[in-house]
Amino acid sequence: MTAEEQQMIEHIVRLIRKTGISIDENTPLVSSGLIDSMALVDLLLKLEDLTNRRIPAGKVQPKDMNTVALMFATALRVGKVRK
């Protein structure tokens, strides 16, 4: 796991504020109900910060954000490097 993925996991744990739940890079987040669609924007903004990429609207769907590993793969696929 990369340092950025670890930072994202810590961000998610703070966001969902549920005790006793452990998350790794492959834990389903959206399809398991841990993250609702209104929280996805927080993850996208964090992902943009961590990857230094702008992720355009319309290019990413909730299923692309279902796990931390998928999020980073999505950022690489559709993100535009910030100048």
Binding site: S37, A57, G58, Q61
Partner: protein, 571 residues
């Protein structure tokens, strides 16, 4: 409008070269059709439907994502005199078999002849939309490839004919189809256009609202179609993941009107980084209308304070009370007001104990604030009644009943529930409110309904799933909506009894499984689950979980769950 006999005549009358719909995908991709192009596209869809033997009066279910082809298919069905209904397309969270069960219930009630899907419809869901020999599943044609006008047979569509069916809430057998005639829809739009002083040459609408929701369908598709306005649409998911795009689109297209549920008024400023606000300009907006959730002053003020720096005019934020059963709006705040909808402060103690409203000064300790949903549209009446149905005076809280010249004709094919909803020509909304100085204030609900992000959900749908978990006692689960001031909308909260006391030793696994089941079943996330020992939930005399008493008990045990009906002044 009323000068038209039906919605298709209204569409035919639109200036052909005026832009009608712009579908905004992202910064680099968007598509616009003029009214003439849209008509051509709709006729092509009509021909494709007609080739499948769809005739006047037949029902069509449209399971397509937010798009120009979806809207053209809807209009195309109406051109044949058929009766279309938008339903939510599948989202990846919901299990295919659950989606099918919900769809089958609705489609069977409609006795739909055709179900239309688009290319985005997932392959693995295909087998789940097959319903019966009678209901054919077809993919919408690519209307863009149609260059010439298709001739359709002459057909008389009368004002009293059904135009379409709107589905109000719920996911399974609870979902009700609101049947609306051309006359009712035209009349509603005429009233609303008058109240909003709509001008087809100057106004344009911004929308991320789903077409299967009355706000998305009526305010952001049918009204622009009848009043000949441009509407710029984007997908609800794209918006919720990038709320800043609302500012971007309104800036680019200088949109003047938008309808939004309450939570959006907090969501956009909170989820758009402040250092990017100045890239946008909201000076074109003349009415951003808070609708479909109880209106919260704090949400309106947050939006206003944030975006007055980027041109948002004072008085551009408005409110409305609307429901599918009245086609859409019942009230609309005064568009001429320079300060937006009135906000009042009332004595909190008196409000809670006597359900009566006594205005007080804002600085009064314990005062509760309410924001008006506006004034009645023309030819619309409301009555506030007690539990026994007796009319109440101004300033007293009771159930809101509505009567108007654009009320629905009934729930499609469901005389049983239509009869329960109507009393002597009045529609019983199940919402609670009061009137004061000709303004309607909507404060909550009498009926059990959760409104999350503007979407209506029945608690029964959630409770059934929760109670099916092996660790939960049958029938001992209660779902409720609790207002979350940080989100500006309700959170879904579930309280459920475990089968045996020892199961409470490790609740994390059970909670995780329940959360999972609810998402798979209906695609929504439960914010908090309270697992309680056996016999904790209060039962009614019929042996069912009593929701309101259980809710009160939960609040006593968990005072951190703040659930003021209004917004209390901090003392």
């Amino acid at each position: 409008m009323a000068r038209f006999r039906n919605l298709i005549d209204a569409l035919a009358d639109a200036p052909g070269d005026r832009p009608f719909i712009t579908a905004w995908i992202d910064e680099d991709e968007r598509e616009t059709v003029t009214f003439a192009e849209f008509r051509r596209h709709a006729r092509a869809q009509a021909k494709a439907l007609s080739d499948r033997n769809l005739n006047a009066g037949d029902r069509v279910v449209i399971l397509m994502s937010q798009s120009i082809p979806a809207m053209a298919t809807f209009a195309g069905a109406m051109m044949l005199g058929a009766v279309p209904a938008f339903l939510a397309p599948p989202n990846f969270k919901v299990e295919a078999s659950k989606y099918r069960a919900g769809l089958a219930g609705v489609t069977a009630n409609l006795k739909a002849k055709v179900v239309v899907i688009d290319d985005e419809f997932p392959e693995d869901m295909m087998e789940h939309v097959y319903l019966s020999e009678e209901a054919q599943v077809i993919r919408a044609i690519d209307g863009k490839s149609v260059s010439a006008d298709v001739e359709l047979p002459e057909l008389e569509i009368r004002p009293e004919n059904l135009a379409f069916i709107q589905h109000s809430a719920g996911t399974t057998g609870l979902q009700k189809g609101v049947a609306l005639t051309h006359a009712a829809v035209l009349t509603q739009v005429e009233h609303l256009a008058h109240a909003l002083k709509i001008d087809g040459t100057k106004d344009s609408v911004y929308s991320w609202l789903p077409l299967y929701h009355d706000m998305g369908l009526i305010a952001c598709f049918i009204l622009p179609m009848i009043c000949h306005l441009r509407v710029v649409i984007q997908s609800p998911l794209d918006w919720v993941m990038h709320p800043e795009t609302m500012l971007q689109i309104m800036t680019e297209y200088k949109c003047t009107l938008a309808w939004l549920p309450n939570f959006a008024f907090q969501f956009v400023p909170r989820r758009t980084p402040p250092n990017r606000w100045q890239q946008h300009d909201l000076s074109s907006a003349r009415a951003l209308i808070n609708c479909s959730e109880p209106v919260r002053s704090s949400s309106i003020l947050e939006f206003e304070n944030a975006f007055s720096t980027i041109g948002l005019k004072s008085g551009a934020l408005h409110s409305s009370y609307a429901m599918a059963e009245n086609v859409f709006a019942v009230t609309q705040s005064d568009i001429n007001s320079k300060s937006g909808p009135p906000r009042i402060w009332v004595d909190g103690q008196r409000f809670r104990s006597m359900h009566s409203v006594a205005p007080v000064a804002e600085s009064t300790p314990g005062a509760v604030s309410f924001t008006s949903s506006g004034r009645l549209l023309p030819n619309t009446e409301i009555r506030i009644v007690s539990d026994s149905g007796a009319p109440l005076a101004h300033g007293l809280v009771g159930e809101i009943l509505v009567k108007s010249d654009c009320l629905f004709t009934g729930y499609y094919n469901r005389p049983d529930i239509t009869g329960k909803a109507m009393v002597e020509g009045w529609y019983q909304t199940g919402d609670l409110g009061f009137t004061l100085a000709e303004e309607l204030y909507v404060i909550g609900r009498k009926k059990d309904l959760l409104i999350v992000g503007g979407e209506n959900l029945y608690p029964q749908d959630i409770e059934e799933i929760v109670a099916n978990h092996p660790a939960i006692h049958d029938g001992r689960a209660v779902a409720m909506g609790i207002y979350n001031p940080n989100l500006g909308t309700e959170d879904i909260v579930v309280v459920a009894e475990v089968e045996r006391m020892e199961l409470l030793a490790d609740t994390v696994e059970i909670e995780t499984e329940i959360r999972n089941l609810v998402v798979l079943g209906i695609g929504v996330s439960v914010r908090t689950i309270f697992l309680k020992p056996p016999k904790w939930i209060v039962k009614s005399t019929a042996g069912k979980a009593a929701r309101s008493i259980t809710r009160e008990k939960l609040f006593r045990e968990h005072p951190e769950l703040n659930d003021e009906a209004g917004e209390t002044k901090h003392e």
